[in-house]
Symmetry: none
Subunit: 313 residues, 4 copies
């Protein structure tokens, strides 16, 4: 039977009926009423009810950015929503009369790519979701790794530079400060501010204002052949590859999947990442090398993943 | 029934009959004929045969420093022994007529501490073996993590300092270069060479020659109250704690167990490690904190662990 | 007989009659007419005249933020006032008919704490005034250190990080950039901007706007138990302690007194400062360790100090 | 009347009769029996007795590398000699029947330059003795600064680089690790090891062996025009100047005197030091700038200084 996957983002709630083959059969959306706990739940209930009008489903999976406890019931903290120790599963099960599974959004997307995307043919996989920040999800031996208390896979907070850039987590030098869209924009604006000849195309795209530069402009300029932008993506790729080598020293997965908005840069990002990864991988030359691949499910990864997790609840 | 655990070290082979409660019932030792593949196997067979004269056993586990393939049959590379793609399991099973399991020594020790030592009451645990180098072993959800090709848990090669100290693995800035006996000795000798008042006790223990300083002298001096030695251990502890926080960003285990020769320094090492860990742990204050504890099985951890793995083969 | 102490700040002029025991017997205030040289002098004369109506005094001491020449007569430069080579002593003596002493405000506060505050029982003392910036005052062998040209004790401009943060003095890496209220706010806003869970309480106190965060909010949050704020204060304390160890390599005072607005954080600041200081002090273990204590006179330190200096003129 | 100054070095004891004008009237030397406490004292007594045979003296001053307590009686620690809490003054007064003053060697040399050398015309002066290490001595307002417990002027241990080179004092990044003969040799050998064209002259002077390079070879090559050597001295000079600017932020002396073996390089060292100093001095442009001058008394500074201190005891 089908299940429903719900992806609660900072601005939109997307819900879809997902088949056991990972197809999205029907989808609906709502705006996220971010600061109102009650309203978010109502929007989820409303979207699910709409989908159930035409499809019979056996369970609902809900993914959200935030810390989810080990029993996958309670969102302990969500940075962009109003939740603090929110018993989301119990509330939704009461209102929907269906089994509900709650999962962290990066974990959900990792599971989506593992079950129905780039990682279908491996048993161990790490997903790096590189958007504004850097999220991670880990699958080991066909199982999602949650950790003793649900905090596994916080890969963006691996420290890669002692006394490096300040991170919102309270530490300095987190991987996320070097391998994320935010990092790309920070570096690109620094280049643009200098006003040198290298910065010409970037400044043009930003309408002359360095502070108006955004990540997709860098990607576009790089794809058109702008050297500064290609170098910025290559630097970002290098950080991805070097950090991934550290993660592989811990996990030795078969595959690293790179998703999120920044991954739209494709090989301009992935080739430098692969080169740096090969150079840094421990025991390189004496081991099969984990592959680095692009994600395949795009923005649907979380919805598809959490629907599948609801099926296997 | 009992099993036999064999720990092949660089200088000694230790073999013991181990009960299902993790007790070593009988133990025997041989010198390691390090450069002769055939001779090492014969020494193992000889030791096992001696033990079987008095104890009936159902299987044999063999632990060795080196890379072991995912099927736990072949030692692909052993830095201190003569093995290159050595089919150790098949050879020993043929000569002993018993099931054999081969495992990396750090994994074996991790399993020993998990099954019968410091980690008995948790389901997820990381062992850090801090001797000359830094070895790691990971247990998740009651299972030893081997990785897609048997290379998981190479924690000593997590990069903690970009462009840091050169490591024998070919990279720079590996954790092992900052959190190991070798690191302790390097720093202690630097202090001793200067000849300042802080170095007086260390120089005395080393007979006046900074190059003669060894790790146990630092530990002894620290335990006697020598300030420089206590600071050296505290610096080492800080690196352990900060690196462990990065590992927990990936894994979120319930416990980190610290073993190996350097762990003899006890709280002089562990208290600074715990303080640094708490300061660096992602989402501290919003999660249960993994505990950092001393290993309990000492040098027997590998033998006990690999015997238990043979039982569960 | 009594003397009058006048503290000319950027917004307020405070004047008080001070007894030889360091008691403030009567106090009056005026707004600081910052950009008008003549008007500042008139405000000081006016305040002193008011106090003399009820108290007989023998001399007047005037403290101001700025460089004062070695003869304690001329303010050569005052960053926040209109003075450039202003002959303040001569002007005031002519208008008041009383002996006048002019002193830098940090020196005045140091002397106040030495004569009547935390340093009463020692002969050598350094005051660190940690407000927006970091000011210093030094007493050696019962005498205020002014230096060959009146520039001693500019401790905030000790360089602690080569190529560090840019300082308003034209150098980079000054101690003041790491151990001051301005540094605390810079770091706190960086944490807040990230929006992570660690930043929640800080953001709440700042009304959701990272740029609205101020130092006292950090102190308040830390005292309530907020972890991020406690860590920010601990980092600041570490810089205080490490810099103080460098100053002690030069001076070897008996005591370091920490005052200024940031010192309101008390032990949350001082304990990390003491720990870092002990770890960095040269010849630790072979010497009596200078103590680090909180200032006792609060905002009156400058007025009391400069009144005492006028008495000892 | 005359006094005797004794300078106890690691290999030689030099003793001289010194007039109140700072002239050395007669000098004698002994080898230092470094590891035998009793023998050192006997050698000093022997040398003093020899000098008294022809000159009447009123007191004896003794300078030694080590920590001397605030009462100038006891050597609490001497890194290169056998002294630990040695009551040198009492022992020598008993054996000589003359008043004795004990002083740290860098303080003694500072006083020598102040009383009879480069600092004769100022009231505040800092001596930097740049030999193998970096020693300091401070004179303020015509008085030698000893500090609350005798540890003032340990300028070599001002921290100039966080996490910099390890120092024998147990800290990292001490000024001495960047501005000393040891630093010069370390850097010169690194250049020589590279074997590049810049290193040709240095390697030639060292007989082809980088490890045989010593400081005087660098100075000689620089004076002959070798570019690499001039740059090495300029780098060392820069560190001297930058550190001196930090010291002046604390002290504001009228003069910084540079002595010790490395000062033989003269302007090749001093000009870069002065340039860096001027660039780093706080409030530059608004203050009289302390001058940086070469020492004038050479190796006799300590003997002359401690003899003068004995006179003023």
């Amino acid at each position: 039977m089908h299940t429903i996957g719900v992806d609660i983002g900072g601005t939109k709630i997307a819900a879809g009926v997902v088949s056991d083959a990972g197809e999205v059969l029907l989808e609906t959306r709502r705006d996220t009423p971010a600061t109102d706990v009650e309203a978010i739940e109502s929007a989820v209930v409303d979207a699910v009810t709409e989908l159930r009008a035409t499809h019979e489903v056996e369970a609902v999976g809900v993914g959200a950015a935030g810390f989810v406890d080990a029993s996958r019931s309670v969102v302990t903290f969500a940075p962009n929503l109003a939740w603090r120790d929110e018993p989301l599963r119990a509330d939704l099960e009461a209102r929907l009369g269906l089994p509900v599974v709650v999962e962290n959004d990066a974990n959900a997307a990792a599971w989506g790519e593992f079950a129905h995307g780039a990682g279908r043919e491996v048993r161990d996989m790490v997903l790096l979701t590189i958007g504004t920040g850097l999220g991670g999800g880990i699958v080991l031996d066909d199982r999602l790794l949650r950790g003793a208390a649900g905090f596994a896979g916080e890969l963006g907070h691996l420290r890669v530079v002692p006394d490096g850039y300040q991170c919102g987590c309270g530490n300095r030098g987190c991987w996320e400060q070097y391998a994320s869209g935010r990092a790309l924009v920070r570096e690109a604006r620094e280049v643009a501010r200098s006003g040198g000849p290298m910065a010409a195309r970037l400044l043009e795209l930003a309408g002359g204002d360095p502070e108006a530069l955004e990540g997709p402009m860098v990607t576009r300029a790089a794809q058109e052949g702008d050297l500064a932008s290609q170098e910025l993506l290559a630097d970002l790729g290098r950080w991805i590859g070097e950090g991934a080598a550290s993660v592989m020293a811990v996990l030795d997965s078969a595959m690293i999947v790179v998703g999120g908005g920044v991954s739209a840069a494709g090989d301009l990002l992935l080739e430098p990442a692969r080169a740096a990864f090969r150079r840094q991988l421990t025991a390189r030359g004496h081991r099969p090398e984990p592959r680095i691949e692009l994600a395949r499910l795009g923005n649907d990864a979380g919805m598809i993943g959490v629907a599948d997790l609801a099926r296997r609840r």
